[in-house]
Amino acid sequence: MSNATSNTETVHRVSFLDKDSLSIPILKILQADGTTFENAVLPVIDQDLAAKIYDTCVFTRVLDERMLAAQRQGRISFYMTCTGEEAAVVGSVAALDQDDVILAQYREHAAIRYRGFTTEQFMNQMFSNEKDLGKGRQMPIHYGCEALNYQTISSPLATQIPQATGVGYSLKMQGKRNVAICYFGEGAASEGDFHAGLNMAAVLNSPTIFFCRNNGYAISTPTNEQFAGNGIASRGVGYGMHTIRVDGNDMLAVMAATQQARAYALEHNKPVLIEAMTYRLGAHSSSDDPSGYRSKDEEAKWQQHDPVKRFKLWLINKGWLAENDDAALYEKYREEVLAAVKVAEKLPAPKIDEIIEDVFDEPTPRLKQQLTELKQHIKKYPDSYPRSAGRD
């Protein structure tokens, strides 16, 4: 049995490889002014699809703006924005089939929106009310929806990576013409689960797209304190995986790369790694303040590369949108989000009985006993538990 290396070339004096031994180009299709590069090969996209993409971007911008404000007002406990990374997320999800399974990290709510998650569903999750699909059990932004093939967000980083390998493998076993796509940041790629998941996907031939949003920061840690190699893409090659690096703020480049990654993954039952170079324009979360670790100048520079503006310029160039056409769209979503907040925040929390559901498929006798005791206690001290008292 031979060792499975690619070649058997030998040398007879010491010669090391380094991180520049592998040159990795960046795919760019859209220029800053919204025109495309000469000879650029565009993704498959028509006016309807472009409109849906832009609509999703506008919704996400509005949602982020309004809900960050709602968090500041104390109406929700926590929030995370997608701002600056919309092209990476929407451009990739728009290249997929609705039945491709998404395993996201947490900053990809634009993808679940693209799939059809309603404004009301967003709000029910963020306000942990009785209509939340997740039954109020997780912090805001931990969305999940089986009908939309968007697996529920889990806070621990990178756990979704080997899981995506398993989902991809299961799709192959079930004979479905679908892939799994896994989103994660460049920080999460330092976790052991990244290595485990990508290596297994390559070895076991799992049709999975690993999509890295390299946005420059893991909370406060910049990429030069995260890794010393040639980004995340260089690792894909090491795992024996088709790999591409794209401009993550270029909607058309992200789409083109993901469309072809999907086709390749399905045709060959193999994984693909996409590294999207982007920038997290907002804070890590509502609990973070970037002024402690990066400059206003740096942020201003990246504002110039706003992915939504660049895509809008392309739409205008195509004649599919006029400069002020989207003002009404912004206004519509601002009103819609505000109205949905007002409804969702008034809905009650799930009943206390649900606290023991879904631990197992059926509550155990011990769980039932604990619930009974808890309810007796709440009955005794109703003023201390206003959320649950008197709701039997």
């Binding site: 080997p162 899981q163 390998t165 398993g166 052991g192 197992f360």
Partner: protein, 325 residues
């Protein structure tokens, strides 16, 4: 009915699981063509093909993460962690992911199709990295079932039930008994209900409780006690999470005494949970303090394995002390 050992019984259960469920997949380190380092998956790749029974790279966290992904999309994932001592890289995927998948999603997604099989326990001169009994780390995690069989017959029925259970199960196999435990095992499929303890010997004076490989130890201690005129009621807990409080409490209400034996270290071991619950349930029936015969609070020692183990003699002494209290 054939006489077979525990490994053959496990292999039998796995074969039935694969034959009766085309969504079942077996994977782990060396489980493919080689059939596993203990040969529990011997012949399964030949029978079911490389897509359904295969080697993984050497990564426990990857194996568990992969299992979560498979099961989240409707598959039956039967993962082998080669030794329970090496389950810790997978701890996050099991504790934070498998156990919480259903709860955190409000049942939008679940991974009830997972069974983690892993050999545990000492008595094989394996030192501290091939001998541990880490069950208590898992029993404190809501959402996981924890199962330990004591012999070949139990292994087949409990494993099949675990694989078919709609919740993730960590199935600890007593590797000391893999070949040593030989018994009559039906050829056909059968399941032993999870969450139910078994009274393996009726008695009147004292209840002696254990699970897995320690069952033969406490049965031996019960024989020694019988010679002194002490009648032991011996119980195999079988499922540690969720555990059968009723059967144990009923027994202790009858005998008034309880000795619990496990191989894992005393402090924080599962015996503590049992003792606390039983004193709550049976306080006025108890004739003596509940006693624990367990491993020492040391890492598992190689050369002093015999001294470390909660053996029959130590159990016998605890039984006598409880009777004399």
């Amino acid at each position: 009915m054939a006489k077979i050992n525990m490994l053959q019984a496990i292999n039998d259960a796995l074969t039935i699981a694969m034959e009766t469920d085309d969504k079942a997949v077996i994977f782990g380190e060396d489980v493919g063509h080689f059939g596993g380092v203990f040969r529990a998956t011997s012949g399964l790749q030949d029978k079911f093909g490389r897509d359904r029974c295969f080697n993984t790279p050497l990564t426990e966290q990857g194996i568990a993460g992969f299992a979560n992904g498979l099961a989240s999309n409707g598959m039956t994932a039967i993962a082998e962690i080669q030794f329970a001592d090496y389950i810790f890289p997978a701890f996050d995927q099991i504790v934070n992911e498998s156990a919480k998948f259903r709860y955190r999603s409000g049942n939008e997604f679940e991974v009830g199709g997972i069974t983690y099989r892993t050999p545990y326990g000492g008595g094989i001169a394996g030192g501290h990295y091939h001998s541990q009994s880490p069950e208590a780390y898992f029993t404190q995690t809501p959402g996981l079932k924890v199962v330990v069989p004591r012999n070949a017959y139990q292994a087949k029925g409990l494993l099949l039930a675990s694989i078919r259970d709609k919740n993730p199960v960590v199935f600890f196999e007593p590797k000391r008994l893999y070949r040593a435990s030989v018994g009559e095992v039906p050829d056909e499929a059968y399941e032993i209900e999870l969450g139910k303890a078994e009274v393996v010997q009726q008695g009147t004076d004292i209840t002696v409780l254990a699970w897995g490989a320690q069952m033969e130890i406490v049965e031996e201690a019960a024989k020694m006690a019988a010679k002194k005129g002490i009648s032991c009621e011996v119980i195999d807990l079988r499922t540690l999470a969720p555990w059968d409080v009723d059967t144990v409490a009923a027994s202790v209400k009858k005998t008034g005494r309880l000795v619990i034996n496990h191989e894992a270290p005393l402090t924080g071991g599962f015996a503590g949970e049992i003792a606390a619950t039983i004193q709550q349930e049976c306080f006025l029936y108890l004739e003596s303090p509940i006693s624990r015969v367990c491993g020492l609070d040391t890492p598992y020692p190689l050369i002093h394995e015999k001294e470390y183990m909660p053996d029959a003699l130590k159990t016998f002494e605890a039984i006598k002390a409880s009777m004399k209290y």
